[in-house]
């Protein structure tokens, strides 16, 4: 980000300087405003899900799930850290079900634990899996199509699922192939 941020920022600022100097500050302010509203929306959904996950934790369900998934997840992330794998597994499940806002807090926890254990490979893998959209149902796209008066809004389901499955596999494969050999 320390490379991408300055490059895009400087080019965009230069364009503003030449073509529209008055538009620069409003653009930045819009960004800041969006950050503020988004944070509130995130706060609202984190309240729900962090509460939900705590209940999952204390009822023993999370541990139960983690025990069952320990082997495949351990192989995927090349990690034996039970706590981190538990978060990562729940993150993937939440992604798959498309629970809005739920994957993020889990993903952050898992990433922090992986990084603390100096397992950059696992952090990369989790990020790429999240960033290639492991969703079963493209709910937003379907809802928007329905709102725009589509005759069969859900007919994009299959192509979307196939495309996103392929991209997740390719992404995971690339992370695996480019890993640093220990």
């Amino acid at each position: 980000m320390n490379v991408i941020f300055p490059i895009i920022f400087l080019i965009a600022a230069a364009i503003f300087l030449i073509s529209d100097p008055e538009g620069f500050l409003p653009a930045l302010l819009t960004g800041g405003e969006k950050a503020a509203t988004l944070s509130l929306a995130l706060l609202a959904s984190y309240c729900i899900w962090l509460g939900f996950f705590k209940v999952m934790e204390q009822s023993g369900l999370a541990d139960n799930l983690a025990r069952r998934l320990k082997r495949p997840l351990g192989a995927l992330f090349r990690s034996s850290d039970g706590e981190a794998l538990k978060c990562a597994g729940q993150n993937m499940a939440a992604n798959f079900l498309g629970l809005p806002g739920a994957p993020t807090p889990l993903g952050i926890q898992a990433t922090q634990k992986f990084l603390a254990a100096k397992n950059g490979y696992a952090a990369d893998m989790l990020f790429v899996l999240n960033a290639t959209s492991l969703q079963l149902l493209p709910t937003t796209a379907i809802a928007l199509r329905a709102a725009a008066g589509s005759a069969s809004p859900a007919d994009i389901f299959l192509p979307t699922l196939l495309a996103t499955l392929a991209s997740s596999l390719i992404g995971a494969g690339l992370v695996y192939l480019t890993r640093r050999r220990a």
């Binding site: 944070s39 309240c47 209940v55 009822s59 290639t132 959209s133 589509s150 192509p159």
Partner: protein, 169 residues
Amino acid sequence: MKWTALLLPALFLALFGYALFKKVRLYDCFTEGVKGALPLVCSLFPYLAAILMLSELFEQSGLSAAITQALSPVFSFLGIPKEIGGLVLLKPFSGSGSTALLSELFTTYGADSYIARCAAVAYGSSETVFYISAVYFAGSKKNLAKPIAIALFANLLSVILGCFLCRIM
């Protein structure tokens, strides 16, 4: 797709029922979890602000439109309709921006047109890569060039594949 709406209440009902069965003090436990929400948002806020300002500059300066223009031969070579080039480019930066763009494409071309279907698939099969990287790696000193490059590449492939599938399905 009504049954998807059933998922959430059913999930909560099942978990809370199970928790009560396991004699969890539900109220104490739930509030204990919520306690973490505010610190989490606070820790994410600076990165969110920087990324969203950047995506605003990217869009409003016309840089995004210029790159889309420049890349349109590449897109058409890859089988991506040039009308959705802007969406493909914007999606890694901004979820809300690309959502707005998607519904704009639906109104312009009709929700059942080939372009709209491609756009919907492109939207649904790719992710806000920069945003996710900012949030997941918030505050870490890790070199992110490789994972971001892989994620962007995989997302591009899924758009190409999605447009192709829309043509035959």
